[in-house]
C-alpha cells in the first residue's frame, strides 16, 4: 500500500526506526547501569527528585547537609549536580520558543564550576539574580502549610534545580525542575501563538462553548482552569479540530485553523495529550513513541531526554502499552507528544488520578519542557500544579472565559480564586 498522504515511511522504514530507538534505549540502559554501579545509591533517588517534596505532600526538609560553601549539593552523590541557577531562566525569543529541543544549555553548564555564593546568600543572589521562588506548592486546597523551614547558611537541600546526568554520556543532562520558575510572561506583552476569538462549540444538541476568547502567548505555560463541565477539554478538542467550532476563529501563528482537518492541525505543530491519554494498548511502548515521531527518526539525545524524564518507558520499551500502569500510560502519552518538537502543546489534565510520586515525575517533565521555552496550553484541576507551572491563566465557566491574567495574580488573590473556582485554600493560598 503506497502512502500517498504523506504519512511517511515505507516498508522497512519503521522497522529501522524502531530498531534505532531500541538501540538507543539499550545504550541508555547500559549507561544507567554503569552509573548505578559507580554512584552511591542513597543519593540517586534524591538527585532525580525534580519536584519539591511539598508537591507530593512530603514533609518539607527543615535542614540539609551543607558543603564547604554552604552548598547542599556537593556531597559524594552530587558530583554531577548543577547549581540550581544554572538552568536557563531567560524567556526565549519567539523563534526559539517554537523549537523545543533538548536543552543544550543544560548540557554545557555542567562543565562550568559552580560559583560559590557569599555566606548567607543563595547562589542566585550571589549572581545578582532574583531569589528563587520557594513558596510551597500544594496538592489539595485543604493541605495545611507546614512551618517554613529555617534557612540554612547557604542554599538549602533543594534538588529542584539540579541537573541529573543520564548515564555516563558526556553532556547529556536531564535537567530537573528549576528552583525559580521562568519569569512570568505577561499575556498582554507576549505575542500570542494561538488565539481563540469568540469560539463556540456544540456537542450534539448541547452548547458547550459559548464564547471563548483566549490568547496563548509564546514560550509560556497557559493554564486553563475551571470547574468540571465548564468547557476546558472541549476547548482543547476544538483547537485540535476533533470538534468543530460553530462560530469564532482559531488562529495559530497567524493562520486560521478552525476549518482544518485534525491531521493538518497536528502537522501545523500542535502536540496533543488528551485527558484519556489515548494510548494504543496493543502497540508496544516503542511503537507508540514511533507514531509520535511522524516526520522522521528520533535523535538519540531526544530519546535520552525522554527516558530520563520517564524512566519506566525504557524499562518497558518492548512491552504492550496496555500493560502499563495508569501513571506509566500518562508518561507515555506525554512522551509521545514530546518526541517531536512542536510549536504548541495541548495537555489535558496530565496529573488526573495519578499517585503523588507520579505527579512529581509529570510536573518535573512539564517544568523541563517549560524551561526549553515551549508554548503550552494546559488544562489542570490541581491548583497547586497549575500554580507551579503556569505563567498565564484563563478560567472558563459556562463556556466562556470568565477571567484571564497571570497565574501569579490568581494565585495571590484568594478572593478571586473563591469567586472563580470556589477554591478556599485558607492560609495556604
Amino acid at each position: 500500500m503506497a502512502d500517498e498522504d504523506g504519512n511517511g515511511g515505507g516498508t522497512g522504514g519503521l522497522r529501522l526506526r524502531v530498531d534505532r530507538l531500541a538501540a538507543a534505549m539499550e545504550a541508555a540502559r547500559a549507561r544507567a547501569r554503569a552509573e548505578a554501579d559507580t554512584a552511591p545509591p542513597a543519593d540517586a533517588a534524591q538527585e532525580r527528585r525534580a519536584v519539591p517534596p511539598e508537591i507530593a505532600g512530603d514533609p518539607v526538609p527543615t535542614s540539609a547537609p551543607t558543603g564547604p560553601h554552604g552548598d547542599a549539593a556537593e556531597g559524594p552523590g552530587d558530583m554531577d549536580a548543577t547549581p540550581p541557577d544554572a538552568v536557563p531562566r531567560v524567556a526565549p525569543s519567539a523563534e526559539e520558543s517554537d523549537r523545543s529541543d533538548p536543552p543544550a544549555t543544560e548540557r554545557q553548564v555542567r562543565h562550568h564550576p559552580p560559583a560559590a555564593p557569599e555566606p548567607g546568600h543563595t547562589r542566585a543572589e550571589a549572581r545578582g539574580m532574583a531569589p528563587p521562588d520557594r513558596s510551597p506548592l500544594l496538592l489539595t486546597p485543604d493541605f495545611h502549610l507546614p512551618e517554613p523551614a529555617p534557612e540554612p547558611s547557604g542554599d538549602r537541600a533543594d534538588t529542584r534545580g539540579t541537573a541529573v546526568e543520564l548515564g555516563d554520556a558526556p553532556g547529556i543532562l536531564v535537567p530537573a525542575a528549576p528552583v525559580a520558575p521562568a519569569p512570568p510572561v505577561s499575556p498582554a506583552t507576549a505575542a500570542a501563538l494561538l488565539a481563540l476569538k469568540g469560539v463556540a462549540t456544540d456537542i450534539g444538541r448541547y452548547r458547550i462553548l459559548e464564547d471563548v476568547t483566549l490568547d496563548v502567548p509564546r514560550g509560556a505555560v497557559t493554564m486553563l482552569l475551571g470547574r468540571n463541565g465548564a468547557g476546558k477539554t472541549t476547548t482543547l478538542r476544538t483547537v485540535m479540530g476533533l470538534w468543530r467550532a460553530r462560530a469564532g476563529e482559531i488562529v495559530l501563528a497567524g493562520e486560521r485553523i478552525d476549518r482544518w482537518a485534525t491531521h493538518r492541525i497536528a502537522r501545523a505543530g500542535i502536540g496533543y495529550v488528551p485527558e484519556s491519554m489515548s494510548i494504543f494498548g496493543d502497540l508496544t511502548v516503542a511503537e507508540n513513541i514511533a507514531l509520535g515521531a511522524r516526520t522522521g527518526p528520533v535523535s538519540g539525545d531526544r530519546l535520552d531526554w525522554l527516558t530520563g524524564l520517564f524512566p519506566p518507558l525504557a524499562t518497558f520499551w518492548r512491552s504492550p502499552a496496555g500493560n502499563l500502569s495508569g501513571g506509566q500510560k500518562q508518561m507515555l502519552a506525554l512522551a509521545r507528544a514530546l518526541v517531536e518538537r512542536r510549536r504548541l502543546y495541548l495537555i489535558d489534565e496530565p496529573t488526573k488520578g495519578l499517585a503523588p510520586v507520579i505527579v512529581e515525575t509529570v510536573v518535573s517533565a512539564l517544568r523541563d519542557l517549560k524551561l526549553q521555552g515551549a508554548t503550552i496550553l494546559m488544562v489542570e484541576q490541581n491548583f497547586a500544579v497549575a500554580r507551579a507551572l503556569g505563567d498565564a491563566c484563563a478560567v472558563i465557566d459556562g463556556g466562556r472565559v470568565a477571567w484571564s491574567g497571570t497565574m501569579a495574580a490568581l494565585a495571590d488573590d484568594p478572593a478571586l480564586q473563591a469567586r472563580l473556582m470556589g477554591l478556599d485554600l485558607g492560609d495556604a493560598a
Binding site: M1, D5, A261, S278
Partner: protein, 374 residues
C-alpha cells in the same frame, strides 16, 4: 526479569501466557478432537452400536487401536479440506474485519466483492481456455494467477466506488450502514445478473489442479493445497505489512483509536480508503478461489458466504487479522469434521463454536484493546 535485572511487574504469569496462546492452541485442539470423534465413530464393530461399545470400557483400547490406522487417511484429507476452506474464508473475512476495526463500518455488502471476483475470474478463465485445459501446472497457475489479479483489481475498484458512493454518505450510524450496504449488495447482485445473466455458471478447475496427491494413503487434493498456500501467503503478507511498515502501524493504531491517530498528524481518511480497497480486493481473491473450489458461481454466492464470514470475524475479534485467521481455520476444520461424523450437525457446529468462544471471550478471541479505555 528485564535486561536491567529488575523484576518486571508487567511480565504475565503462566496463566496469562497460556491464555494468550490459547487461540493458537485451539486450532490443533479442534483437529485433535475431530480425529478423536472420527476414531470413536469407527470403533463399533459391524453388528455393534456405539452405545453398546461405550458400556464396555475394556474394549475401547483395542477398538481404538484398530480404528486409528483406518481413519488416519480420512483425517488427513479432512484436515486439509478444513484448512483450505478456512483459508478461503479468511481471505474473504480479513478485509471485513479491518474495515470494521478501522472505519467502524459494518459492511453487509462485502459479499458483493466475493461474487464479483468470482464472475470476473470466470470470464478471464474462459478467455484463457487453452491455458486451463493444458495439463501443464505452470500454465494452469498462470491462468489462475491472471484471473485472480484481474478479479482483485475489479473488486478493489468496485470497493473504492462502494466506499465513496454508499458507505461514506452513511456516516457513523450503524443502522444506516447496514441498510445501505444491504442495498448495495442487492444492486451488485442485480448488476451481475445484467452482465453475466441470471443463471449459475459451472466452471472446470484447470486440468493439473483436478487430481490429488496420495500421501500415506490419504488423498490430498492439489487444489486444496493451492488454496492453503494462497491463504498462508496472504496472511504472511498482511502480518508483515501490519507489523513492519509505518502504514501497518497506523492501521493497527487506527483500529484502536482513529481519533488519536489523526491528532498525531496522520490522515486516516486515506488509510481507511486504502484498507477498504485492499479488503475488497482480498474478498475478490477469496471469490476466485471459492468459485474454483465449488466449480460453480452464482450472484448470491457472496451473500450466502457472509454468514460464515461474519461468524469468523466475530469469533476472531473485530479488527484482528490474526484472530480472523485462527477463527477461519477453526470454522473450516469444525465444519469438515462434523460433516464427516454427523452431517446434519455441520451448520450447527459453526454456531456452537461461536457460542463457546463468546462465552469464553465475549469480545472475540483477539479483540483489540481500545485506546480510549486506557
Amino acid at each position: 526479569m528485564t535486561t536491567d535485572g529488575v523484576a518486571d511487574p508487567h511480565r504475565p504469569g503462566i496463566g496469562a501466557r497460556i491464555g494468550a496462546a490459547m487461540p493458537w492452541l485451539l486450532v490443533p485442539l479442534i483437529a485433535a478432537l475431530g480425529g478423536l470423534a472420527m476414531v470413536v465413530q469407527a470403533m463399533p464393530g459391524p453388528e455393534e452400536t456405539l452405545a453398546a461399545l461405550l458400556r464396555t470400557p475394556d474394549l475401547w483400547a483395542d477398538r481404538a487401536a484398530a480404528a486409528l490406522p483406518a481413519i488416519a487417511p480420512s483425517w488427513i484429507t479432512l484436515t486439509l479440506a478444513g484448512l483450505a476452506m478456512g483459508m478461503m474464508i479468511f481471505l474473504m473475512a480479513s478485509g471485513l474485519t479491518l474495515v470494521f476495526g478501522l472505519m467502524d463500518v459494518i459492511n453487509f455488502g462485502h459479499g458483493a466483492f466475493v461474487s464479483l471476483g468470482a464472475f470476473v475470474a470466470v470470464s478471464v478463465l474462459a478467455r484463457f481456455g487453452g491455458w486451463t485445459a493444458s495439463t501443464d501446472l505452470a500454465l494452469n497457475l498462470a491462468a489462475i494467477g491472471l484471473a485472480a489479479l484481474v478479479a482483485m483489481a475489479v473488486a478493489g475498484t468496485a470497493g473504492a466506488l462502494f466506499e465513496r458512493v454508499i458507505v461514506r454518505p452513511a456516516g457513523g450510524s450503524h443502522l444506516k450502514q447496514i441498510l445501505v450496504t444491504v442495498g448495495g449488495l442487492i444492486i451488485a447482485e442485480q448488476l451481475i445478473h445484467v452482465i453475466w445473466g441470471p443463471a449459475e455458471i459451472y466452471i472446470d478447475r484447470p486440468a493439473a489442479l483436478k487430481g490429488a496427491i496420495v500421501f500415506h494413503g490419504a488423498a490430498l487434493e492439489t487444489y486444496r493445497l493451492l488454496a492453503v498456500a494462497a491463504g498462508l501467503t496472504v496472511f504472511a503478507l498482511l502480518a508483515l505489512v501490519l507489523r513492519y511498515t509505518r502504514i501497518g502501524l497506523i492501521v493497527r493504531a487506527g483500529v484502536q483509536d482513529g481519533e488519536m491517530v489523526q491528532a498525531l498528524g496522520y490522515r486516516l481518511r486515506g488509510v481507511c480508503v486504502a484498507v477498504f480497497i485492499a479488503g475488497s480486493a482480498l474478498a475478490g481473491l477469496g471469490g476466485v478461489l471459492w468459485a474454483l473450489y465449488q466449480e460453480v458461481v452464482t450472484a448470491q454466492m457472496g451473500a450466502d458466504l457472509m454468514v460464515l464470514v461474519f461468524i469468523t470475524v466475530i469469533i476472531g475479534g473485530l479488527g484482528s487479522v490474526t484472530g480472523c485467521f485462527l477463527a477461519a481455520l477453526m470454522i473450516g476444520l469444525t465444519q469438515n469434521y462434523t460433516a464427516f461424523v454427523e452431517p446434519k450437525l455441520a451448520l450447527v457446529s459453526t454456531i456452537a463454536v461461536l457460542v463457546l468462544v463468546l462465552l469464553w471471550r465475549p469480545a472475540g478471541m483477539l479483540a483489540r484493546q481500545s485506546g480510549r479505555m486506557s
